[in-house]
Symmetry: C2
Subunit: 502 residues, 2 copies
Amino acid sequence: MAEKYQKFRELTGEIFDLDAVVSVLGWDQQTYMPPGGAQVRAMHIATVSRLWHEKLTGDEYSAALEAAREETADLDPDSDEVRVVRYMQREVDKWIKVPSEWVNEFKRVTTLAHQAWEEARAQDDFAHFQPLLEEIVKLRRQYVEYFAPYDHPYDPLLNYFEPGMKTSEVKSVFDELRPRQVELVQEITERGLPVDDAVLHQDFEESKQWDFGVEVIKALGYDFERGRQDKAAHPFTTSFGIGDVRITTRFDPKYLGTALFGTIHEGGHAMYGQGMSPSLDRTNLIDGASYGIHESQSRMMENLVGRSRPFWIAFYPRLQEYFPSQLGELDLETFYRAINKVKPSLIRVEADEATYNLHIMLRFEIEIALAENKISVADLPEVWNSKMQEYLGLTPPNDAKGVLQDVHWSSGYIGYFATYSLGNLMASQFWAKMEEDIPDLTNQIERAQFAEMLSWLRENIHQHGAKFEPMELLQRVTGNTLSVEPYLRYLRAKYEDIYKLA
Amino acid sequence: MAEKYQKFRELTGEIFDLDAVVSVLGWDQQTYMPPGGAQVRAMHIATVSRLWHEKLTGDEYSAALEAAREETADLDPDSDEVRVVRYMQREVDKWIKVPSEWVNEFKRVTTLAHQAWEEARAQDDFAHFQPLLEEIVKLRRQYVEYFAPYDHPYDPLLNYFEPGMKTSEVKSVFDELRPRQVELVQEITERGLPVDDAVLHQDFEESKQWDFGVEVIKALGYDFERGRQDKAAHPFTTSFGIGDVRITTRFDPKYLGTALFGTIHEGGHAMYGQGMSPSLDRTNLIDGASYGIHESQSRMMENLVGRSRPFWIAFYPRLQEYFPSQLGELDLETFYRAINKVKPSLIRVEADEATYNLHIMLRFEIEIALAENKISVADLPEVWNSKMQEYLGLTPPNDAKGVLQDVHWSSGYIGYFATYSLGNLMASQFWAKMEEDIPDLTNQIERAQFAEMLSWLRENIHQHGAKFEPMELLQRVTGNTLSVEPYLRYLRAKYEDIYKLA
């Protein structure tokens, strides 16, 4: 019984394995690989990626998929079986348009580009990264053409990360968001009670930062038996299966926020990965429903939990024990206001919640201009700096703190950034529903009790992996479509309180 | 021109990549993988290994190999081209006898077995490892049958590690070696000047042990730009290409020898890997000529260099600076004698040079009995202990210090151990030749100058990788066949001096 489905799952398992192996190779590359390993690693990754593509788009798999589809046609449309078949069909339909040679070359170039980006950022030398980024943009433009006809050349890129989402939809969300977000920032800077965050910019011993971060994410529910934390140039989370979901972080010895909120952010991603249903293991559904949904989980932990007053009621005394000379004399409220200080800044991952989406909009516009072929890679530093001035009133002192700050483009992730903002919106939508379902939530957080919160997330979101499409999942959980209102309501309430705007 | 050879090299490169990827997965498993990752990692490794096998033994590769063979038939028989073709032909001939399903299952079981072995050793619980070891032995007996007819059922196992070597040959070498080795040990214990090594058994801070070991292998020539060191339950070296050759080590905070000589041993392996010719990169010839040749390089560094008086003339003052309270008052000669103390002991990797081969002979006999189906896995603890009594006059206090001490069987490495002794013999043969070619060698070592030594090793051994068969390489370098004489001569001279036997 279900013999054909079993055969299909076996072949799906192989495809999953190859995908996971590429992730292991990437994790190693970004954590421990010596510089001399880069050239051959690019070949390893390219070869495995091409085999992955050949298996996924090959006749054997298509036949197994078709047989499984027929065999499972009468099952509950929400069953794992039907959904795994449907998801893999979409994967095949997408990837069959892309030649294996493209996959091979894309993976080779992006692996080399990662190292070049790391070096370029360290040496503040955009020119060192430029040739490989040009190759990546060229490859991505090629990729777009495999999906012609399209409404907008950015659609296939966006869809890579946010299945089903249109460029026009993101634009209209951003158009709705931008004026209200800018207005809030103006209100804060013009008539808010000043906030001083100098206390976060002191010497904080790295090993203590590490230990406190680990204590926090363990409490939140990240399982170190099925994961680990390492250092990387740019923090990321990666999953090789539900039993092995790893995070990375980085430290600034002179600023507490970098590692702390980075660790909680990645912890949010990783708990999603660890919470997926074992019934989906070794399928490509062991993945977020989309990058936006993934970011909803990380941004929720980072901000709605990690920058909330209830959370620090629980953890601030512990943090003071780690750093008595730096924080021993500082009261909770001043600390809470400091970690929520609104100030236009250069670095996205360190931006406050009020300005964060502006960093995203800037990147979104640049990527669209790249996709539309209206700017070239050589223009990027200048375009970046002028947009920073326009959106945040700042000009980066150098490219390391400007156009080179993010890892994404080196990985070929053009089309990713918008998902952070979508994640912000959805995090607030999920949170509003969770507050309805757990009336005691705030009190639980104040007591560092996260079990019920994690259960809710697992039950409603995590367990499903990529079983449901992102907007379908959002609808199932919240009963609503994508909306900016819960997010703006949350943001305004928070900052009215902190900045005494009301 | 040479178009068919190029096509063959491309396909060979893919096969190499898959092999290297399995090594990366294995490295991660033994260094950083969280416990929860073991189950799915076994599947990752099994899948990639099976694909590797399918590629290697598939029609496409055989055709490319044949075409390349024809195209290169008139080239110099010692050219890379001819040798790469010949080597890969041997690989195909060997692996085509083994079904892909066996490879898949063997890799899956050994990956799981590694974790079980680690746990069993830590908890001194052989029964925890036994079921998986039984599966491994069963799989290895199956493997042997794929190579029927054979002179001896151990031949295919031995050949896996030492191509071309017969069980009967190893037996006859061991028969020659055993009485003279035992005689030397008896002489030493009966009439040697007593040696005290208590000074090595003190508290040695791990981080300082780490730093000194790194300083030593850097001086010897290990390149950290193309490698790195991590900790593992059992030290090993692994190569993903000549640009990425990694070592691992382990520490005993109460015994200096474990990490120090382990690090130098693995450094010897790794310098071999780093010294191979770029012209062979991304072929399976980026490997030792055999495990025996590989061990000749590691055992040479560990013993002929690392336990020699000239070496410690150079490094002992530095070691004293690392550990002033432990060694500050101790003179060089007493230290040199301590690190060469001969005493029958339980742990192979910590054995002195005089008794080391006895540990190997014990394992060799047990493996032969397993291959001949004369003992079962359940018998192993008892057989081990009785042979320890016979060979070394000791009975292990527990299995952790007995049958569970080595990682090899958990990896399916049945047939490996003899290569350590072959390595000991060949190390002395190579060394004798190197001393002829570099008359100043001892003086150079006393001054910590290893450049000429490393050049000689690269020129004569390292660069060739697996281009020549092991006995062919030995003959080319030394002009001689395998012999016990240089080794026994070296050993006797060394111990006559240390123990004042003469």
